[in-house]
C-alpha cells in the first residue's frame, strides 16, 4: 500500500505567542517547533497499517518553513520511509496548503491508497486542510477518527461526535482519514530510529514546484494583536443590611451597562 501522512509543524504548546513586527503574523523567530499532536496519531496509524501490510511504504508530506525540520525527522525516526517538504512561509492559508500537499503527493509519483492527517492543527485550529485535500484529489474523507479497521479495500472508521457518541463509517480506499486523540498511542522515535532517519530520503520542493502561487491565496492575515488584558475584578462588601439594597442595585447596573452581560 502507498500510505501517506500529512503533518504540520506547530509551536510548542508552552510557547508564549506574540505578534510579529508589522502584525501580519505571529513572531516565529524564537519558537520551538513540534509535530502537531494530532498528526502523531496519524503517523502511528500509518505505521501500524504498514506493519500489517507487507511491502507498504509510508510517505510523509509537510508544507512549511525549512529552518527546522524536526517534525519530518521525528516521523521518519518513528518509522516512515521517506518525506516531502514543500518550502513555504508559515502564513499560508488552508487552500494553498491543501493545494501544495496535493502537488507534493503528485511529485512522489505514488498513487495514495490512504492519506492520514491529524483532525486539526493546534496552532490556527482551522480544521480545513484534510477536507480540502480530499476534495481536490476527489477522495472520500472521514474526520475525527478514534477507531480504525482495515480489510482489503474496506475501512471501518469510528468517528467521535457530540456528547461522546460514536458514528461508524464504512469507506473504501483510496480515502483520507483525519485522526483524533484516542485512536492509538504514538510510539517514541527510538535512538536507532533517529540514526536511521538520517539516511532516509527527504525531498525538498518549492511552492512553484507543486504549482502553488500567491494567486491561490484565499485568506490574508493582518492586525494580529494580543487579547486585551483582563481588567482587575471588582469586589463588593455587603455584610451590612442597610447598604445591601444599594449595592445590589449598583452591581446589577454594572452588569447591565458596563459588562453588558444581562
Amino acid at each position: 500500500m502507498n500510505i501517506f501522512v500529512c503533518i504540520k509543524q506547530v509551536p510548542d504548546t508552552e510557547t508564549k505567542v506574540i505578534p510579529n513586527g508589522d502584525a501580519t503574523f505571529i513572531e516565529t523567530s524564537s519558537i520551538k517547533w513540534i509535530m502537531n499532536p494530532y498528526d502523531e496519531f496519524a503517523v502511528e496509524q500509518a505505521l501500524l497499517l504498514k506493519a500489517a501490510n507487507a511491502g507498504s511504504t509510508v510517505t510523509v508530506v509537510r508544507v512549511g518553513g525549512v529552518k527546522d525540520t524536526e517534525a519530518l525527522r521525528t516521523a521518519m525516526a518513528m518509522g516512515a520511509d521517506e518525506s516531502f517538504l514543500v518550502e513555504a512561509d508559515d502564513n499560508l492559508d488552508s487552500y494553498m496548503t491543501a493545494k501544495a500537499i496535493k502537488g507534493a503527493i503528485a511529485k512522489s509519483e505514488k498513487t495514495p491508497d490512504i492519506i492520514f492527517t491529524g483532525k486539526q492543527a493546534i496552532d490556527d485550529d482551522c480544521l480545513q486542510v484534510p477536507q480540502l485535500v480530499a476534495q481536490m484529489m476527489e477522495l472520500p474523507s472521514v474526520s475525527v477518527i478514534v477507531g480504525f479497521e482495515h480489510s482489503g479495500d474496506k475501512l471501518t472508521l469510528k468517528r467521535e461526535i457530540e456528547g461522546g457518541a460514536i458514528e461508524v463509517y464504512e469507506a473504501t480506499t483510496p480515502c483520507l482519514v483525519a485522526c483524533n486523540k484516542g485512536l492509538n498511542t504514538p510510539r517514541y522515535a527510538s535512538l536507532p530510529g533517529i540514526m536511521k532517519a538520517k539516511r532516509k530520503p527527504l525531498t525538498q520542493l518549492s511552492l512553484a514546484d507543486v504549482g502553488v502561487s500567491e494567486e491561490d491565496r484565499r485568506v490574508s492575515y493582518s492586525d494580529f494583536s494580543l487579547p486585551p488584558e483582563k481588567p482587575p475584578g471588582k469586589k463588593f462588601e455587603a455584610m451590612d443590611e442597610a447598604v445591601q439594597k444599594d449595592i445590589v442595585k449598583e452591581v446589577v447596573g454594572l452588569l447591565r451597562n458596563e459588562a453588558k452581560v444581562i
Binding site: 525540520t69 524536526e70 525527522r73 521525528t74 525516526a77 517514541y188 522515535a189 527510538s190 535512538l191 536507532p192 530510529g193 533517529i194 540514526m195 538520517k198
Partner: protein
C-alpha cells in the same frame, strides 16, 4: 572553533530522551521512591528505545554514541528520576571497563548480549573497608592453573540483585598495591560461591538496587580477565574518566529538575500580595541556581568533548563531577527552601530531589576525592 550548538541529530536525541523522562519517569518517580521497588518495566522500555548502554560501540551492536551524546541522554534521564537513572548509568559504569580493557573476542562475548535484550550489569570496586582508597582492595583474584579464583566482599554494588554480569576488581598480590589490581568479568550469575546480599535501605535513589556481593572461591575462566593481571587500576582510572562526566551530567539533570519546580512554584506562590518570585530574596536564590546549572553543564560538556577528541580529561572530569554534584545538592536544598513547608512534605516532589542529590556528592568519587584528584593534576605536572 567554539560551538555550543548540538547537531540537529543530537537535539532530536535530547528531545526524545526528555520526552521519555517526562512521560515515563516523572509520573512514576515518587511511586518507586516510596516502594523502593526496582522499576524493571520502565528500564526495559528505556532499553528498547536505545537509552541504555550508550557506551557500547557500533561494531558490537551498540548505538556508537560519542560521550557528548551519552551525557546528553544521562542529563535527561536524571531529570526524570535520579534513582532510575542510577540503575541505567550503572550498566555503563560496568560495561565501560570492557569497552576500554577487553579484547575483541571478549567485547563480542560480553557486550553483544546487552544489545540483544535488556540485561543488567554491576561494577564491583568498593569494599566494606575500601571506598575512596580503592587502591587498598582486599578482594583477591588468584591464578589456579586453568582458571582464576575470586575471594572477598564488595559493598554498595548498584544493580547487584538483578545483574547478569559482574565486573570485579581484585588484587593478585596486595604487596604490589595498585600494580596488583586486576579486573575480571563474571558473566554467570549462578556461579558457585557468588552471594548477593539483601537490598540496602537508603536515603535516596531508593528504586535503584544496592547490595553487598560476596565471592567465596568463585571460579572464573581465564578468558574472562580484562588485559593482564595488574591492568585493573589502569582500566579503572580510564573508566572514571568516562563515567565521571556522566555522573556529573546526572547532577545537572537533577539540578535542572529541582530548578524547574522551584522557579515555577516561586511564580505561583503568593505571599504579601504578590508572587514570591517578585521578592529579591527568592530572585537571588533562583538566579544562583540558573547560573550554577549552566556552569555545571558547560563543565560536563567540556570534560566529554575532551574525551571525544582524545585529549586528557581527568582534571576536567573531576571539575565537572565535584562542581555539578555540589551545585545539585545546593540547588535541591534551595528548591525545598523555596517551597517552604510544602517542600518538606512528601506530597511535593522536591524533598525527594534533595535526598537523591546527596548521593551524587558521594558515589563515583566523593566531592573531596575529586578535589584531591584536581590538586594532584595541578601539582604533579
Amino acid at each position: 572553533m567554539l560551538n555550543f550548538e548540538l547537531s540537529s541529530e543530537q537535539k532530536e536525541i535530547k528531545e526524545m530522551a526528555m520526552k521519555f523522562a517526562r512521560n515515563e519517569m516523572i509520573p512514576n518517580a515518587s511511586k518507586f521512591d516510596e516502594s523502593a521497588e526496582f522499576p524493571m518495566e520502565i528500564l526495559t522500555k528505556a532499553w528498547e528505545l536505545g537509552l541504555v548502554n550508550t557506551c557500547i560501540p557500533a561494531e558490537y551492536g551498540g548505538t556508537g554514541f560519542s560521550t557528548v551524546e551519552s551525557i546528553t541522554i544521562t542529563e535527561c534521564l536524571s531529570y526524570g528520576c535520579m534513582g532510575m537513572n542510577t540503575a541505567i548509568m550503572a550498566n555503563d559504569l560496568a560495561l565501560l571497563p570492557i569497552v576500554i580493557g577487553a579484547n575483541d573476542e571478549q567485547k563480542k562475548r560480553f557486550l553483544t548480549p546487552f544489545t540483544e535484550s535488556y540485561k543488567i550489569a554491576a561494577f564491583c570496586l568498593t569494599e566494606p573497608g575500601n571506598g575512596s582508597d580503592a587502591g587498598g582492595i582486599k578482594t583477591t583474584i588468584k591464578d589456579a592453573g586453568d582458571h582464576y579464583v575470586v575471594n572477598g566482599q564488595k559493598m554498595w554494588i548498584t544493580n547487584a540483585g538483578f545483574a547478569d554480569l559482574f565486573v570485579v576488581y581484585g588484587t593478585f598480590d596486595s604487596e604490589q598495591k595498585h600494580k596488583g589490581i586486576s579486573c575480571i568479568v563474571i558473566d554467570d550469575k549462578n556461579v558457585e560461591g557468588l552471594e548477593i546480599g539483601a537490598p540496602e535501605k537508603k536515603m535516596g535513589h531508593k528504586c535503584s538496587d544496592t547490595r553487598a556481593v560476596t565471592f567465596n572461591n568463585v571460579k572464573v575462566p581465564k578468558e574472562n580477565l580484562l588485559g593482564k593481571l595488574g591492568d585493573g587500576w589502569k582500566i579503572a582510572m580510564k573508566t572514571l574518566d568516562h563515567s565521571r562526566p556522566m555522573v556529573a551530567a546526572s547532577a545537572v539533570g537533577g539540578a535542572q529538575c529541582a530548578y524547574d519546580y522551584a522557579a515555577k512554584y516561586a511564580s505561583e506562590r503568593i505571599q504579601f500580595g504578590k508572587p514570591i518570585a517578585s521578592h529579591q530574596a527568592i530572585q537571588f536564590m533562583v538566579a544562583d541556581m540558573a547560573m550554577k546549572i549552566e556552569a555545571s553543564r558547560l563543565l560536563v560538556y567540556k570534560a566529554s568533548w575532551l574525551l571525544d577528541n582524545n585529549q586528557p580529561n581527568t582534571k576536567l572530569a573531576s571539575f565537572a563531577k565535584a562542581y555539578a554534584a555540589d551545585a545539585c545538592m545546593e540547588i535541591a536544598t534551595n528548591a525545598v527552601q523555596i517551597y517552604g513547608g510544602y517542600g518538606y512534605s512528601k506530597e511535593y516532589p522536591v524533598e525527594k530531589l534533595m535526598r537523591d542529590a546527596k548521593l551524587i556528592q558521594i558515589y563515583e568519587g566523593t566531592s573531596q576525592i575529586q578535589r584531591l584528584v584536581i590538586a594532584k593534576e595541578i601539582f604533579s605536572r
